[in-house]
C-alpha cells in the first residue's frame, strides 16, 4: 500500500489512457496543439491548487523543497496566461494559414507548454511522495 501511495498520478493516466487516433479530415497539428494546451491548463491548475493547499504542511516537512516548488509554481502563475495565450493565438494563425513557418512558431509555443507541464508533473509527484 505504501508503494501504491507514491505512484505519481500522471503514470496512472499514461498507463490507462493513450492518445486517440485522429479522425480523418482533422489536422493532426491542430488536434495536438489543442490537446497540449488543454492538458497544460489542467495540469497548471492542479499544481497551483495542490501547492497552495499543501504549502504550510510541505514547509514544515521540508522547507527547502517547499520553497523550490513554490518558486516554480509562482513562475507558472506569473507566465501561464502569456504562454497559454500565445499557444492559442499561434494555433489560430496556423489554422488560418497552414504554412511551415506558422507550424514552426506553433511548435515553439507548444514546446514551452510541454516543458512546463512535464516539470509540473514532477512536482505533483514530489508533493504526493511527501504524503501531502
Amino acid at each position: 500500500m505504501k508503494q501504491l501511495k507514491t505512484i505519481p498520478s500522471i503514470f496512472l493516466v499514461l498507463l490507462l489512457a493513450s492518445c486517440a487516433p485522429i479522425l480523418p479530415g482533422n489536422d493532426p497539428v491542430v488536434v495536438n496543439a489543442e490537446r497540449t494546451t488543454q492538458l497544460a491548463v489542467d495540469t497548471f491548475n492542479l499544481i497551483e491548487k495542490l501547492e497552495y493547499d499543501t504549502y504550510s504542511a510541505f514547509k514544515q516537512a521540508d522547507a527547502s523543497a517547499a520553497a523550490q516548488v513554490r518558486k516554480f509554481v509562482n513562475n507558472l502563475r506569473h507566465n501561464q496566461a502569456e504562454w497559454l495565450g500565445s499557444a492559442r493565438t499561434l494555433t489560430k494563425s496556423y489554422k488560418e494559414n497552414r504554412t511551415a513557418e506558422n507550424k514552426a512558431s506553433l511548435d515553439t509555443a507548444l514546446a514551452v507548454l510541454t516543458s512546463a507541464t512535464s516539470e509540473a508533473n514532477k512536482y505533483i509527484a514530489e508533493i504526493h511522495a511527501k504524503g501531502l
Binding site: L16, C19, I22, T37, V41, D42, N45, G85
Partner: protein, 65 residues
C-alpha cells in the same frame, strides 16, 4: 476492464486528493480528443485562459515564499 472502472478502482486503493482524481478524468478525456475543437469548445478554452488574466482564483495568484 473498462478504463473508467479501472480508474475508479485504483482511486479507492490510492489515497489521492479529489483534485487529482478530477485531473485524471479530465486528462484522460483530453488525450482521447481525436478531432479539432468545435467553436464552442474553443471559446470555453479561450475563456478559461482569459480568466487567468482578468479574474484569477486566489491559488492562481503568485504567493509569498
Amino acid at each position: 476492464m473498462e478504463t473508467t472502472a479501472l480508474i475508479a478502482l485504483i482511486s479507492t486503493l490510492v489515497p489521492v486528493a479529489n483534485d487529482v482524481i478530477g485531473w485524471i478524468f479530465k486528462a484522460q478525456a483530453t488525450l482521447k480528443q481525436n478531432a479539432e475543437l468545435t467553436p464552442e469548445q474553443e471559446a470555453a478554452l479561450d475563456a478559461e485562459i482569459a480568466k487567468l488574466k482578468t479574474n484569477p482564483e486566489e491559488w492562481q495568484k503568485e504567493q509569498p515564499i
